[in-house]
């Protein structure tokens, strides 16, 4: 049932009427709309009930264990939302003078400073609105740095093959070509391949650490030295910052740029796909290029500084300076954690990941990197199971849904066949992890005994397996009046 199916001509949510107004006799008729827009006509209860019911057709952190690897689906404290929606903060216009926002700006400034401290970088900009925009800002700064030195020959960004797709896509948006380098057997960057790849054409390296393979890059210092010696800069993709929070800092490793995903590490919500926030931190030499605005403090007075005062900035990434409400949520979270709590995030994320990996290994599942410590996540490969039963990682994932667990990330990273990338996060209990192990074992038994049951999963959800091919082939992207 779509909201449009509930629509009846003339029905309204009457309390939302702001009343009749003057007909616009001052507007030229040829610029006016002739037919009303095809929006639903429903009562307030219709809308409330419809969308409440829709919400119940979702898995979420608040309702289910959600071990989606590389996404850090940890509990989103409610206090963070309460702070962001405080009426004065919610009502403030973005172009209001700094005088009217000293309280808000104090929070943002503190967040900026806390992110500096936790990453070990020389400066931070809160401007990017998501991780991918943080990546864009980072690579654009690398480009601005080379250009400012008159070095325009550097045309290539190096990306390990295990990287998120956003890395190569970002490099392209910044006008670079992408050179992929392989990963060695232990899940580390292949150093010989890196040495062979760098040169006067190298603008920089984008590296995720811990990598998407769930392991810490052990020769990280050597890697950044190889790139730096070739004249390139180093980009630290902070997607997996949760694993190292308070333990080790990208700035201390010698990196030039890092972006952070606040919706992951700082627990602002994922919201069904956004909003995020992707602040960037930089080393001394990239400070002039940070995206604007930056929050500055001068004798206790806070203000946002724009391109007028930072002429070398790579510029603005949003109309109004960033996702302030997300930043407020992250500020709340960071103030609650404090210095001790930050470190405990990494500690317990690592404990949960290593415990879950150990238990699954003990139960006979194949870890992709059994000799390595898990960071905050790890990979199980179902290659043997598929060979034995025909059941794929996708089938397995869908059956886990039937048991009330959101599936791990499937088929990423691309290097490991039939993989499940599992990230339990620090906020889950041992009991939940044990229940997940039991479900994994149960699904494997089903796959051995009755593969068809798993191959046709899910069975207990609002819909059965959806036809993706049809979705792409017979495009139905907007409602056109026919009832569902």
């Amino acid at each position: 049932m779509l909201i449009f199916d509930l629509s009846r001509p003339g029905r309204r949510a009457a309390a939302q009427s702001v009343g009749p107004a003057l007909a616009p006799d001052d507007l030229p008729a040829e610029l006016l709309r002739q037919a009303p827009p095809p929006l639903p006509e429903v009562s307030e209860l219709d809308a409330v009930r419809h969308y409440t019911r829709l919400s119940q057709r979702n898995f979420s952190i608040d309702t289910h264990f959600y071990p989606l690897g590389s996404c850090t689906m940890k509990y989103n404290p409610r206090a963070c939302n309460a702070v962001a929606l405080l009426p004065q903060f919610a009502a403030r216009h973005p172009l209001a003078d700094a005088d009217t926002g000293q309280g808000l700006l104090a929070c943002l400034y503190e967040l900026q400073e806390m992110l500096k401290a936790v990453t070990g970088m020389a400066g931070v900009s809160l401007a990017p609105m998501a991780g991918a925009q943080g990546e864009f800002a980072g690579v654009a700064m690398i480009r601005a740095y080379h250009h400012a030195r008159g070095d325009r020959a550097r045309s290539e960004i190096i990306v390990p093959d295990a990287a998120h797709g956003t890395n190569p896509a970002t490099a392209m948006m910044c006008g670079y070509s992408v050179r992929e380098i392989p990963t060695d057997r232990d899940g580390n960057v292949d150093l010989d391949a890196l040495r062979a790849a760098v040169g006067p054409h190298t603008a920089g390296l984008m590296l995720t650490n811990p990598s998407t393979l769930g392991v810490f890059e052990q020769r990280i210092v050597e890697i950044q030295a190889i790139v730096h010696e070739a004249g390139g800069l180093t980009y630290y993709d902070g997607a997996n910052l949760n694993a190292i929070l308070g333990r080790v800092r990208p700035g201390d490793m010698g990196f030039d740029v890092i972006h952070m995903n606040l919706h992951k590490t700082f627990s602002t919500p994922h919201g069904g796909g956004g909003p995020g926030a992707g602040p960037v931190g930089v080393s001394e030499r990239l400070l002039p290029y940070l995206p604007v605005p930056i929050v500055v403090e001068e004798s206790g007075y806070y203000r946002l500084v724009g391109e007028e005062e930072r002429p070398q900035s790579i510029g603005r990434l949003s109309a109004f300076g960033g996702n302030m409400g997300v930043l407020l949520r992250a500020w709340t979270y960071a103030r609650m954690l404090g210095r001790e709590g930050m470190r405990q995030v990494a500690d317990y994320a690592a404990l949960n990941a290593n415990y879950l990996a150990a238990e699954l290994k003990r139960a006979g599942f194949d870890l992709a990197y059994p000799e390595r410590r898990a960071s905050h996540e790890f990979i199980v490969t179902l290659k043997r199971l598929k060979e034995a039963t025909g059941v794929t990682a996708m089938d397995f994932a869908k059956r886990l849904l039937d048991y009330g667990f959101h599936a791990p990330t499937t088929y990423f990273p691309l290097l490991v066949p039939e993989c499940l990338l599992i990230e339990p996060t620090e906020t889950e209990s041992k009991a939940t992890l044990d229940a997940f192990v039991a479900a994994m074992i149960k699904v494997r038994e089903e796959a051995m005994r009755e593969p068809q049951l798993v191959k046709t999963a899910p069975h207990n959800l609002p819909v059965r397996r959806l036809d993706d091919v049809r979705a792409a082939r017979e495009l139905d992207l907007v409602w056109r009046g026919q009832s569902s």
């Binding site: 309204r12 949510a13 939302q16 702001v18 107004a21 003057l22 507007l27 610029l31 006016l32 009303p36 006509e41 969308y51 409440t52 919400s55 057709r57 309702t63 939302n81 702070v83 962001a84 903060f89 009502a91 216009h93 973005p94 209001a96 000293q102 309280g103 401290a117 609105m129 991918a132 925009q133 998120h164 797709g165 956003t166 896509a169 970002t170 990280i220 333990r247 080790v248 069904g272 796909g273 995206p291 510029g315 949003s318 109309a319 300076g321 960033g322 409400g325 103030r335 210095r339 500690d347 404990l351 620090e426 609002p462 397996r465 959806l466 036809d467 993706d468 992207l477 907007v478 409602w479």
Partner: protein
């Protein structure tokens, strides 16, 4: 005060199962020299009560103002039903619906959103949203260039497009060799000069950007601009305020053929001002351009029993599949804000949204009438406007705004910040949230400030 549930006994049992003596041992693959001692520069943790009190004190310090600033972010009434549903954990704490069967709530909502936005803008397809209006314009420019024949890489952007949108577009498309050419505006009427457009060399031109209403609130000759663009084989990118579309002709009907891509900021649809975000950008387009669109798109399909359901589709455009060849690096949409907007449009409906648009327009007209009745205050432009207008003041705009602020009023946006030729001009906006008393109060205070200024030197009322 972190959020982990482990008891000491849990930790001991878990470490034993892993086979390590301590949590520290789990980090033994990280070179010792890199591991940091206690983080300096971070405060100690606080409990929830203490953080919330601190935040409340800061919020109170910021206080409330009677706001007459628009300039791309608009104060509207947000129905009380919206945010309790938006912040339900099932929406709030879910992620991108990769597992479609476990995300039918979010997916159906996005499909309904896409349908509403396509209908509102009069175009055939919509994506599931982008970050904000400004970055949506940048993405639309990249999309138009990708779709252009013969490698055209120039895009005309009128000076009447929001200055911040132009800045963001520059920052985002700069690295791909795309040239943004500014189109001047008519200093009397305040809309883009169609004559200046018609003098442009169309060679290598991929698209023309057309705002409606424009940054000054003035209505553009959209039909003429659109038809010129299409006559010269380039695309039209509309930049619109979604509330205005209940009243103004939708971009899909501009000129003979309609705009090709439409973008804007969805903030007016149930999203709080929040000092600038999170908002969301919307993008709709002709069907023929759907494979060039950036961002998530949801489609309706069927499950293996033939029952209707929803899934992400056309993912071959996206970075997680196509990597370096993707249409954009964007990974998220602004799902939570889209949830608010979908509820807003459902609660308002076609009639309610039209009433809001009419009320905004009527309040702004009323405000303009009251303010221009003050000696020395006049409209800058004579062209028809919607919901926002530029006024010339007989005094320095920053000083007047400061004096108004001291009396609890945010009087508008100082146009001189972006347009040196409009140094004495103020952009004002009144929406449905303003009553006659509010308008009157503003007019009276402005009259008093301006008359005092005539009688005393400016420094006398500096605050």
């Amino acid at each position: 005060m972190p959020f982990f549930p482990h008891t000491q006994q849990d930790v001991a049992e878990m470490l034993a199962r892993i086979g390590v003596p301590s949590i520290d041992a789990l980090f033994d693959e990280i070179p010792r020299a890199l591991q940091c001692a206690e983080l300096s520069g971070l405060p100690a943790g606080l409990n929830e009560m203490a953080v919330v009190r601190l935040a409340q004190a800061r919020a109170q310090q910021d206080g409330f103002y009677a706001n007459f600033i628009g300039a791309g972010a608009y104060e509207h009434h947000i129905p009380a039903a919206i945010w309790p549903i938006v912040t339900r954990g099932e929406f709030y704490s879910a992620y991108t619906p990769y597992q479609a069967e476990a995300s039918q709530g979010t997916l159906q909502l996005l499909y309904e959103y896409q349908s509403m936005m396509a209908g509102l803008t009069g175009l055939e397809v919509s994506n599931a949203s982008l970050y904000d209006g400004a970055s949506a314009l940048a993405e639309a420019i990249l999309m138009a260039v990708r779709a252009a024949r013969g490698g055209a890489r120039r895009v005309l952007v009128p000076a009447t497009v929001h200055p911040r949108y132009r800045a963001v577009a520059r920052a985002i498309v700069a690295h791909q060799g795309i040239e943004l050419v500014e189109l001047p505006y008519c200093s009397e009427r305040g809309h883009s000069l169609a004559e200046a457009l018609e003098r442009q060399d169309p060679t290598g031109l991929a698209a023309v950007v057309v705002p409606q209403p424009n940054f000054f609130g003035v209505l553009e000759p959209v039909d003429r601009l659109t038809d010129w663009a299409h006559a010269h084989a380039c695309r039209v990118i509309a930049v619109v305020n979604p509330v205005s579309l209940a009243l103004l002709k939708p971009p899909g009907q501009w000129g003979e053929k309609g705009a090709d891509i439409c973008v804007g900021d969805g903030q007016p649809l149930g999203v709080p001002l929040s000092s600038g975000g999170p908002y969301f950008g919307f993008m709709t387009a002709r069907m023929e351009l759907v494979r060039q669109m950036p961002g998530r798109i949801v489609g309706r399909t069927v499950d293996l029993e033939g029952k209707p359901g929803f899934a992400l589709t056309l993912q071959a455009r996206e970075q997680h599949i196509r990597r370096a060849k993707a249409t954009s690096n964007i990974c998220t949409n602004q799902g939570l804000l889209v949830t608010a907007a979908t509820l807003y449009l459902a609660l308002l409906g076609p009639q309610g949204l039209k009433e809001v648009a009419l009320a905004c327009h009527a309040r702004t007209r009323d405000l303009v009438a009251r303010l221009t009745a003050i000696e020395g205050v006049a409209r800058v432009f004579s062209g028809p406007y919607f919901h926002e207008a530029a006024l010339r003041l007989p005094a320095k705009v920053p000083e007047v705004l400061r004096a108004l602020r001291a009396q609890g009023i945010l009087g508008g946006y100082d146009l001189g910040r972006d347009y040196p030729e409009l140094a004495d001009a103020l952009l004002v906006c009144a929406t449905e949230t303003k009553t006659e008393d509010d308008l009157n109060d503003y007019a009276q205070k402005l009259a008093r400030i301006l008359s005092r200024r005539r009688e005393a030197p400016p420094c006398a009322y500096k605050s």
